[in-house]
């Protein structure tokens, strides 16, 4: 029987070292923080101590970038053991990673590379998710990544792949609204079709972030504020999803905390309006 990912409704922020002192010394008005799992999957020292102290004050979500769930040669067992260890310590709200791959034949790109939307890839991803969830002893969430290339031979679209993946493995979904927008612009699909196509009852968390505009392509850089189009898409998403956890994700050019808190407040306002619209 599948494990079920937990539910949580609230607004959070990615914990980055520039704001450690804020989170340790003051009461930041948020409902949870999300950390990059790998930054704390170390043997000891200050990073683990900071995570322990932050966890005493806030619920924590563990968000990974290195599981490589789409690898055709399976998962790294040592990685899973380390992730299990930190998850047992932290007792996180969620453990999440991306629908992507980074590792093949001992090589690790350290990037979120795209998975082809084929039956063969879906079977492989589902086998890997089953293994990960069994080793971690909990249901995971998987995020839709931004992508810059679409492969020939796809037999389904991204949201169909995500829906089947979630149904077959019991995993939850982490909906990154900026990634939907970036991929929709890069590949020419309708982002609203994506939002309508994923199973709303499987979404447990939403990411909001900024992107950069390159020559003929959008790039998911997480170094900008959330743009107006993505805020608008977020409003649509929240009217479809109902109350789920939302967080602001900034990884580069980190501004003062107040700027990010303004984005958290914006997300709260939009989610509240969307809920009212849904009720009306």
């Amino acid at each position: 029987m599948h494990m079920t990912p937990p539910t949580f409704s609230g607004f959070g922020l990615g914990l980055r070292k520039e704001h450690y002192r804020d989170f340790l010394d003051t009461d930041v008005p948020i409902d949870f923080v999300e950390v990059i799992s790998e930054n704390f999957m170390v043997d000891g020292g200050q990073p683990r101590d900071i995570l322990r102290r932050v966890r005493e004050r806030y619920p924590v979500a563990l968000h990974g970038v290195s599981m490589s769930i789409g690898s055709s040669d399976g998962l790294d067992v040592d990685y899973l053991r380390r992730l299990r260890s930190i998850a047992d310590d932290v007792e996180p709200l969620f453990v999440s990673d991306h629908l992507s791959w980074s590792r093949i034949a001992g090589f690790n790109s350290h990037d979120l590379l795209p998975v082809p939307y084929t039956s063969e890839a879906l079977d492989m991803v589902c086998r890997n998710i089953d293994m990960a969830q069994n080793m971690l002893g909990r249901a995971m969430l998987f995020e839709n990544p931004s992508s810059y290339i679409a492969f020939d031979g796809a037999s389904m679209c991204e949201w169909e792949f995500l829906a089947d993946m979630s149904r077959r493995t019991g995993c939850g979904l982490l909906l990154d609204v900026n990634n939907v927008y970036v991929s929709a612009c890069n590949h020419g699909f309708d982002p609203h079709a994506f939002l309508r196509g994923i199973p709303a009852d499987r979404v447990r968390q939403v990411h909001l972030a900024g992107h950069s505009v390159g020559p003929g392509i959008l790039i998911d850089t997480h170094d900008q504020p959330v743009c107006d189009d993505v805020w608008s898409l977020y409003g649509t998403a929240m009217s479809l999803l109902g109350p789920v956890a939302t967080m602001i994700e900034r990884d580069d050019d980190i501004p003062p905390l107040a700027e990010l808190m303004a984005e958290v407040d914006m997300a709260r306002d939009i989610a509240t309006l969307s809920a009212r619209r849904e009720v009306a």
Binding site: G44, R48, R103, G106, F107, H110, D111, S147
Partner: protein
């Protein structure tokens, strides 16, 4: 093309600079693949810059970037964590600068300080740890963060000056070889250069952690009275510094 073939092809397109590998995904994929290829290299260069800030300052931006690119070509990443990527960077520096032992030792210092920062925690020494110790059988527990290397240059002076943004001395050979000791005290990585006798004494504890063996080694070098006295002094120093974190027996 099945999934494994696609992923092997993608790997080649990231690592190779020619267009042959990218061709397998068609012309329409060129712009997207260029983004992934740029991400791959930029991330690894940034990783080395973060891991070796003082080596970068010592070499200069242009020379460091040249070394980083050479390293990325010859050492593709394997580990699940980027934190390990710079581990072999000193091999690249040795190949590019074979006559600069100061640079090689500077790189070792910088990497070891990073490793020590996240090494496993050692249990705190209990207050009565030295009571009722039978010194004939006592074994010293070293901190898991300890890193040792023979020293032939003043690379520690270079690192301290670069890190402190003070006048950087010329790299030079030491009058007599010694050793570098890197470890973590609390949450702070530490660096110290010691003479050859003290270095051998500390390094010897990795093979035989007994206090008796430490005394024997120092007695060989310094004679009975001075050797035993020095063993006591070193033990006190290492306990205070957090290099020795416990005594069994």
């Amino acid at each position: 093309m099945n999934l494994a073939e696609l992923q092997h092809g993608f790997r080649s397109s990231l690592m190779d600079t020619d267009d042959a590998a990218t061709g397998i995904f068609g012309a329409s994929a060129a712009t997207g693949l260029a983004v992934y290829r740029n991400n791959y290299r930029a991330q690894l260069v940034a990783c080395l810059e973060v891991s070796y800030p003082q080596v970068r300052r010592w070499l200069g931006d242009e020379a460091f970037r040249e070394a980083a690119i050479s390293h990325i070509v010859s050492h593709p990443p394997h580990a699940w964590t980027l934190d390990h990527y710079g581990r072999d960077f000193s091999d690249t520096l040795i190949a590019m600068y074979p006559r600069n032992p100061d640079l090689q030792e500077l790189a070792w210092i910088e990497w070891s300080l990073s490793e020590a920062f996240v090494a496993a925690d050692a249990p705190k020494l209990v207050d009565d740890a030295l009571w009722n110790v039978d010194w004939d059988v006592a074994r010293l527990r070293l901190t898991p963060s300890l890193r040792l290397r023979p020293a032939t240059t003043n690379a520690d002076d270079l690192w301290l000056a670069l890190d402190g943004d003070t006048d950087v001395p010329q790299g030079s050979m030491l009058d007599a070889p010694g050793g570098f000791v890197v470890w973590r005290k609390g949450f702070s990585s530490q660096l110290k250069r010691v003479d050859a006798t003290d270095f051998d004494a500390l390094a010897g504890l990795r093979d035989d952690p007994s206090f008796a063996a430490l005394c024997e080694k120092l007695v060989e070098r310094r004679g009975e009275e001075d050797g035993v006295r020095r063993a006591g002094e070193l033990l006190a120093e290492w306990l205070a510094a957090g290099i020795v974190t416990g005594i069994d027996g």
